[in-house]
Symmetry: C2
Subunit: 331 residues, 2 copies
């Protein structure tokens, strides 16, 4: 359709191989011809066809990014870190929103394979073994953002969820709380599982018993948080005086339920979240939460992928970042 190498070759009067060489900075081109070619290319507004380049070079300078919910501010923050790091190295990013649905994720993954992405960054929407096995079979280098620390030999970047949760719950305990609820998100997500473990450990280590009625999980969103909290609050003889929720969105929902039930925060019920999304710091919210360096995580994730892409490092890496508890008004 549009302008090709040949067009500009014809115009300058050289073979199109020469044009290719000149434009791609090949050293063995006459200075003058190169100059002429570059000028002409500019003048004609030539843009190389990356699809054709990709076909021959067998690389597309493209990565796939799969995230579960772009609507949760946590993920755009990461996505931005990834994208900016990527673009700096000349990579473009396919964004795929999996909606925590592993079938959608699978579909996307196949498309990305077909589109010949050079690499993959993903936070798997499910950690069921068959799904993980499917992902593992995929040939492009991958890095996981949030991925269970099992015996696997993948590269992932994650924060220490267990520790973060532990700190959060311990903080609550130190404040004198004993009946602490856990409100979680997607059951099959690593983050959820680990945060639950952290919660349980903190409870047990402090000699507190875990009431299963106070441990519930559903989606990682505000509505879930709201309904879970509401239900807990309405159950007979509810003793809850504090809640740890597996992410900020859940906390926000829970707070709404708490207020609707006419309890005061933090006097009657204290709450702490996880992620430290931007809105957690609003003066009206002042959510105590476990903070993650989101933007950096994105950058690091891409850098790790880039190392694989360029073959600098072949061995897998496990990058575990430190969470930090930010104490604000809700606890």
């Amino acid at each position: 359709m549009s302008l090709t190498l040949k067009d500009i070759a014809k115009e300058v009067g050289v073979s199109y191989a020469t044009v290719s060489r000149a434009l791609s900075g090949h050293p063995e081109v006459n200075k003058n011809t190169r100059k002429k070619i570059i000028e002409m290319a500019e003048e004609m507004g030539y843009q190389p066809n990356a699809i054709a380049q990709g076909l021959v070079k067998n690389e597309t300078k493209t990565i796939g990014l799969l995230i579960p919910d772009i609507t949760n501010p946590f993920f755009p923050a990461i996505a931005r870190g990834i994208e900016e790091a990527a673009v700096e190295k000349g990579y473009s990013t396919f964004l795929c929103n999996t909606n925590w649905n592993k079938n959608i994720e699978k579909k996307y993954l196949n498309v990305l394979i077909q589109k010949q992405v050079d690499g993959l960054i993903l936070t798997p929407s499910s950690e069921s073994t068959d799904h993980l096995k499917f992902i593992k079979k995929l040939t492009p280098p991958k890095v996981f953002v949030n991925k269970i620390i099992d015996n696997s030999s993948d590269t992932f970047i994650i924060i220490d969820n267990k520790k973060g949760a532990y700190q959060a719950v311990e903080h609550l305990i130190k404040k004198g709380h004993e009946n602490i609820a856990f409100i979680g998100g997607e059951k099959s997500s690593t983050a959820n599982k680990e945060r639950l473990t952290g919660y349980k450990n903190a409870m047990q280590d402090n000699g507190l018993k875990i009431n299963n009625d106070y441990v519930k999980m559903k989606g990682f969103n505000r509505t879930s948080g709201y309904f879970i909290m509401k239900e807990m609050l309405m159950s007979e003889g509810c003793q809850i005086t504090a809640v740890f929720s597996a992410n900020d969105l859940l906390a926000l929902g829970a707070i709404q339920a708490i207020k609707e039930a006419n309890f005061n925060i933090p006097e009657d019920i204290a709450i702490v979240g996880f992620d430290d999304i931007e809105f957690a710091s609003l003066p009206e919210i002042q959510l105590t939460t476990v903070s993650q360096p989101k933007y950096q995580m994105g950058q690091i994730a891409f850098d790790a992928l880039y190392e694989k892409l360029t073959g600098q490092k072949t061995k897998e890496r496990k990058i575990i970042l430190e969470p930090s508890l930010i104490i604000r008004g809700t606890s």
Copy 2:
């Protein structure tokens, strides 16, 4: 590298042209051969190389999406609408975050052209004429989300910003406010300009004079809102009793400044925003705001693009959606 048509052709014992035909649903293939081929392809886990397909078919089933700030929840909501509509029709989406920077946007646009995207959905980060001219020259079909209604013949989808702003300000006026400030975002953005116009119109139509000290703009983010408001509040003899801000993030920032100055909302100062991002509805926030059907806008935007892509409709369309004022606690 990986599995190609030839591999599966060899295995089945036919020419690879036949395999291509069988797999792409070409009618003139023997039922039996087709079955064998499909089975074999499945068994071997064949995935067509979309890059190669793109080269010959001259289409990539890929679109570019350029948005100014993925960190503003307004845009992810739109992006999600676009992406889901796109994937349904078999398109993948390149996500590009321009950061309200037209040079970055330009760079992205060139990359997208090189990557041979079939279409473009963008909310331009600047409406300077040279930038717009640059965009206009781009060959792929485009649809704009937010684009000034000038003499241009583009397709765009937008809400009636002027009207929304007008309603917001009128609402404030009816509540008895006279000294109403305007806090805006990016100067060069259409949305900003139109919302400013709506503000001015409402003021003038109601016989209120506009105090230029009360009209300020900067970035479309929380920090800007905070500092603009703070400055206004600290200026001598500030009479402001209400503010209309050009988006919710700005409003959130302004609210913080108002509270820090020890004013009550809405008693001392009322405020209304624009966008109705998810967090505007939090019980703690209760931001009165002008709502936009974000997810739908995304869907509609893709559908409009799809019509162009498939040649169903060639003429440009201007889709203008209705805003709706949602009155909550801050006014």
